[in-house]
């Protein structure tokens, strides 16, 4: 048991081992186990999952997806056949590992193995589906793996269209398919199909075996069906291989966080179009976004969870390319309370010299910020803020930033440009290479009602424009080497001559 749970922990780190139901089943539960499980549940689980397991604990309203209502006996992450209850091992795994992308943490380091094991029989008392089962559920057989290859990925891509995965998951897999906006879970709450390009958010993990099992078994309580009747073993692996080919990192890890967004110095014109091949050559930085929960209206469940940023500068201007996944292109004129989609890059107006910075949520009374904002309807705006309720657009005449934005297949790509220096330093930040300039990002998904202070954001990171080395950096050492070398040659020659003379 200990070795197994250690290896699961390792697997969680490496993303390598599958959570299959083949592990030995848990020892049979006694009434004392159920009672102990109930006490653990009441201490740790009740606040989300509710006293009776109805998923309506006090924390539930702040979570999306909502905590599971156990009464229906429907569990998303199983290794058993479609329509069947999960195995004891499946329940134990979810408690231990948690569910990425949701509010369900892994309890491996908080609860002992015994405590986690005791929760399983207690959970089973919460739904009559378990009492109704006369036999243990049938585990799925994972067939012989078809390794990934160009051919397999191509077949998977064809199957993706043939069985119509794109209807929900989108043509590019970003969860922006035509059926996606109306999807609801078994409780009638809106639910989003997975963004297949963000495997670190997959609820059941992202090993190849995890994907295989999800396809064969479906995800209970959600619209994701089982494809066991329409995909045989080989075809399932082809689809798995195709999905894995969409990932930024083959191991499925989230991009690493770098505190400093570095901008390279380039020569010549910086392309304004986000689709220009120039941007493929620039380093990419990834910033996770969280909801604004400081000031009302607070947003605990933001729509966008991360933004990719690239930055370059030349002798005249700085440019940032921002890319984020948004499954819905907001149409503010639709008259349904929709706002535009938008992104903003925030800087302090004055580059701080000491530790004090403006409040990252759009500035404070003492220190102002500048926001370079692009909106899907309004285009480029420059604003100044002394607090989230004191944000004012600059007069049009002093706007010098420009932007080009595009939406395609569930993704926005925007390039914002601004001159390095302007004539109004009282409201525009003056960019200087070689300084660590605080930077923060905001993203609004207008179709989810995100506008004004209701958005996803980051706190301060740093923006660093890499200074170019002056040519003298190379000249002086070369001169020093020549002079020093020359002097040594002359000195040794003189010494030798003197020696020969004597």
């Amino acid at each position: 048991m200990l070795f197994w749970s250690v290896s699961v922990g390792w697997a969680q780190e490496q993303g390598a081992a599958p959570r299959d139901g083949g592990a030995p089943s848990l020892p049979a539960a006694s009434p004392q186990d159920i009672e102990a499980g109930k006490r653990t549940y009441q201490k740790w689980c009740m606040n989300c999952h509710g006293e009776e397991g109805d998923g309506a604990g006090p924390a539930a309203d702040f979570l999306h997806p909502r905590p599971r209502d156990f009464r229906q006996g429907l569990f998303k992450v199983r290794t058993t056949k479609s329509g069947q209850i999960p195995s004891d091992q499946d329940l134990f795994n979810v408690i231990t590992i948690g569910m990425p992308g949701t509010g369900m943490p892994g309890w491996e380091h908080t609860l002992t193995e015994v405590e986690r094991r005791q929760l399983v029989p207690y959970l089973k008392t919460l739904s009559r589906r378990f009492a109704r089962a006369t036999a243990p559920p049938e585990p799925l057989k994972i067939g012989v793996r078809v390794p990934s290859s160009a051919d397999s990925v191509e077949q998977g891509k064809r199957l993706f269209r043939e069985i119509e995965c794109f209807k929900c998951h989108g043509d590019d897999g970003r969860g922006d398919g035509p059926s996606a906006p109306e999807l609801t879970d078994d409780w009638g709450a809106p639910i989003r199909p997975a963004n297949l390009r963000k495997p670190w958010t997959f609820r059941g993990g992202h090993t190849a075996e995890d994907l295989y099992v999800r396809l064969q078994s479906g995800i209970a309580g959600t619209p994701m069906p089982s494809f066991a009747d329409s995909l045989d073993n080989e075809k399932t692996w082809h689809v798995v291989n195709y999905v894995m080919s969409l990932w930024p990192d083959p191991n499925g890890h989230a991009p690493p966080l770098q505190v400093a967004l570095k901008a390279r110095r380039v020569e010549g014109e910086i392309p304004a179009q986000p689709g220009d091949a120039f941007w493929q050559k620039q380093d990419t930085f990834f910033y996770p976004l969280v909801g604004q929960v400081i000031l009302e209206p607070r947003l605990f469940t933001p729509s966008v969870d991360g933004v990719q940023v690239q930055a370059v500068y030349n002798d005249r201007e700085v440019a940032w390319r921002l890319v984020w996944d948004d499954p819905t292109k907001s149409m503010p004129d639709s008259g349904q309370g929709e706002f535009e989609d938008a992104v903003a890059v925030e800087f302090p107006v004055q580059i701080p010299t000491g530790a004090k910075r403006p409040f990252f949520l759009m500035g404070d009374a003492e220190l102002a910020v500048q926001l370079l904002r692009w909106g899907s309807s309004s285009g480029m705006t420059e604003l100044n803020g002394n607090g989230v309720n004191k944000v004012r657009p600059q007069a049009a005449s002093s706007d010098q930033a420009s932007a080009v934005g595009e939406f395609k297949d569930g993704q926005y790509q925007v390039v914002i440009k601004r001159p390095l220096r302007t004539l109004t330093p009282d409201r525009d930040i003056q960019f200087e290479p070689g300084r660590f300039i605080p930077v923060a990002f905001f993203v609004w998904d207008g179709s989810k009602g995100e506008t004004g202070g209701k958005m996803a954001l980051t706190s301060w990171y740093y923006f660093f424009m890499e200074p170019t080395l002056p040519k003298t950096t190379y000249v002086y050492p070369a001169v020093a080497v020549v002079v020093a070398g020359g002097f040594q040659w002359w000195a040794i020659r003189r010494l030798r001559q003197r020696k020969m003379d004597t």
């Binding site: 479609s82 329509g83 069985i163 209807k167 619209p223 069906p225 494809f227 009747d229």
Partner: protein, 240 residues
């Protein structure tokens, strides 16, 4: 003092009670000597509620641009179609036909029929007559829930149900598509037709409770007495 006679009496009474309880739970099908019938018409009382039109916003080449709203189908005299009429407390009657095959089809992005009665243990064949993928998603607790994808390459899915239940079923890809599966543990179930009429035949004489359920109008219970060789007429009114 516990005597042997006392023990035998306790055991005997216990078995009798247990047997009665068990026999009252399970329906027993067999030959019916004296037969009566129940028939009637289900009508809507009060003004018809407004119904939202269905949004047919994808795959219009197959699904068309509009779909009929089947949540409430009324005849010109406010008769209600697709109401499910069943006896709820019958324990003995004609045999349940588990060999019958129920067929549920998906045609031009519509489930046909809109309400199905399927006996416990009988096979239901779910067909996809459309050239696009649908999924069959049932919402049930007493029966294993089904959520299976049905691409055009998979024309038939066969399934069975194990417990009486009213099961809502829908396609998630095409949100307007829905149907109801009524799993029956005895044969005295009927669906009202276009004129709101139903008939339950071969009912053994006795007093019964009859439940009339409709997806939009809710349910109503009626006490019915059935006499041999006669048809008991029961008018039913459902109100929103």
């Amino acid at each position: 003092m516990v005597t042997r006679v006392g023990m035998i009496m306790v055991w005997g009474v216990g078995c009798l009670v247990g047997g009665l309880v068990v026999s009252s739970l399970a329906y027993q099908g067999g030959p019916v000597a004296e037969k009566g019938a129940i028939s009637g018409v289900v009508k809507l009382a009060g003004p018809p509620p407004a119904l939202k039109p269905l949004q047919v916003n994808k795959d219009q080449a197959t699904c068309g641009k509009t779909q009929p709203v089947e949540a409430l189908l009324l005849g010109s005299d406010k008769s209600v179609k697709n109401a499910v009429v069943r006896l709820t407390n019958i324990s003995k009657g004609k045999a349940l036909d588990t060999a019958a095959k129920a067929v549920l089809d998906q045609v031009k992005c519509r489930f046909v029929p809109h309400v199905n009665i399927v006996p416990v243990g009988a096979t239901m064949e779910i067909k996809n007559s459309d050239p696009i993928t649908h999924n069959i998603h049932t919402f049930s607790i007493d029966n294993d829930p089904i959520n299976k994808a049905q691409p055009k390459t998979l024309p038939v899915i066969s399934t069975k149900f194990t417990a009486p239940e009213i099961i809502k079923t829908q396609c998630d890809i095409h949100k307007w598509m829905s149907t109801w599966i009524i799993v029956a543990d005895h044969p005295y179930h009927a669906i009202t037709d276009g004129k709101g009429e139903f008939k339950l035949t071969d009912v053994p004489p006795g007093n019964y409770q009859m439940e009339i359920w409709h997806e939009n109008l809710g349910k109503v219970t009626k006490e019915v007495t059935v006499k041999a060789n006669s048809d008991t007429a029961v008018p039913v009114e459902l109100k929103k």
